[in-house]
Symmetry: C2
């Protein structure tokens, strides 16, 4: 069996997230269906990150096993010819037999886009959240800095998140502003993320940017280990899975 690795981009707006769900259009479900049609038989793929309904990706990674000898380039072309245009396979390559897109991932990077201007361009609307009434990037930057390093992120995980062990290490947590000063972008990289973690961080940073929370309050939120200590979970449309990191050479 060959082990095939894919890098995938998608606009998540009209999909019920990554993970297969009966009766719903999901990225994983559509990919498995199309790969199955092209290669024959039933295919099960493993994705690096289970993005939620409405979340986008520029660099999702997934893998699957197949006995087919189709060349990677040929598979990429055939797949893109049969996928909806919101889902594109950017790269297909043969991986080591043991490669697993999920368990081998050493880290991921996400971006969350906020718009603080007067009128959000319809060309940007599907990928950003419009925050009215001002958003001050400086305190958001200070708040984001508190998250760097290894912490228990229970306060930023969905209340129903069942994962055992909620410590994660954030290696990048950065707020930037575009040249027109209208978009405020939060970029975060960690060895792993809990359910709703980036969106809950974003929702909390928005409260800081609006002056409703003190940036230094982030330390106490982490300390609380209680979902109610953090801000709301920000909407899915602002979030993009940018990149998945693996070990050397992959």
């Amino acid at each position: 069996m060959r082990n095939i690795r894919m890098t995938i981009a998608y606009v998540g707006t009209r999909f019920a997230g990554w993970q297969v769900q009966p009766g719903r259009d999901t990225i994983q479900g559509i990919l498995e269906n199309r790969i199955g049609s092209i290669l024959g038989g039933s295919i099960r793929i493993v994705g690096a990150g289970r993005t939620d309904s409405g979340v986008h990706a520029r660099g999702q990674v997934a893998n699957f096993k197949t006995g087919s000898r189709i060349p990677p380039e040929g598979l990429r072309r055939a797949l893109n010819a049969h996928l909806p245009e919101e889902i594109r396979v950017l790269r297909v390559e043969e991986a080591e037999p043991a490669f697993n897109a999920r368990s081998d991932a050493r880290g991921k990077e996400y971006r969350y886009r906020l718009f603080r201007g007067e009128v959000l361009s319809p060309f940007q609307a599907p990928y950003a959240v419009h925050v009215r009434g001002g958003l001050d990037a400086e305190p958001m930057r200070a708040a984001a800095g508190w998250l760097l390093g290894r912490h228990d992120f229970t306060s930023f995980a969905a209340a129903q998140c069942r994962v055992v062990g909620k410590e994660r290490t954030i290696s990048l947590s950065e707020v930037s502003v575009d040249p027109a000063e209208e978009f405020v972008v939060y970029r975060v990289r960690a060895d792993g993320f809990l359910q709703h973690m980036v969106r809950t961080i974003a929702g909390t940073l928005v409260e800081v940017g609006r002056g409703r929370r003190d940036p230094d309050g982030l330390a106490a939120i982490l300390e609380a280990r209680d979902r109610r200590a953090a801000g709301p979970c920000a909407p899915a449309r602002g979030l993009v899975l940018e990149k998945v990191f693996y070990g050397e050479g992959s």
Copy 2:
């Protein structure tokens, strides 16, 4: 009566173009409906350019008369709160009583985006046309140059175009390539455009870029004054109305 001028952006994908058509969602129709709801009564707006079904705009201009004394800022906010997110009113201002967005327009600028890379990002797909098998920008640039100046554009107008007088003056006709060398963008400015004119120019430039037409053949196409002399009408999704020009101070 006050004369209100609006600048409008829209993603045209799911609309049947600018102009009102019974039983179909058009930009003009939706705007008239929402403005009517906000101001009361029936409103008729005049748009600078009747963009086709699926064509986008970053700077469409329109005007309408009203007895309402609502401040321009208030109208803009109320409109954006009630419009679908694919349509945004960027600016509302009071115009001279005689201002007419259509007949006063001195010129317009359009952009047509082509993609010549391997995989078109799903984030760009709604606003660009993927041309496979290579596209050489140099001959396209040469071809675009032939269109500069005053010409009879009959060859580039829809066969059913009934306008009397098909001479137009093109003051900018430029092919550029993005830094990643994947997008080829055609920018054109003229005192007016015939039906399908930019898309037929784009379709002809694509044939030049693929080596199927000689760039110097553009002179003969203009000379022919025959729609069959030019290339096909390129798809609507690649086209954006960028800007409408008026006289000094407007």
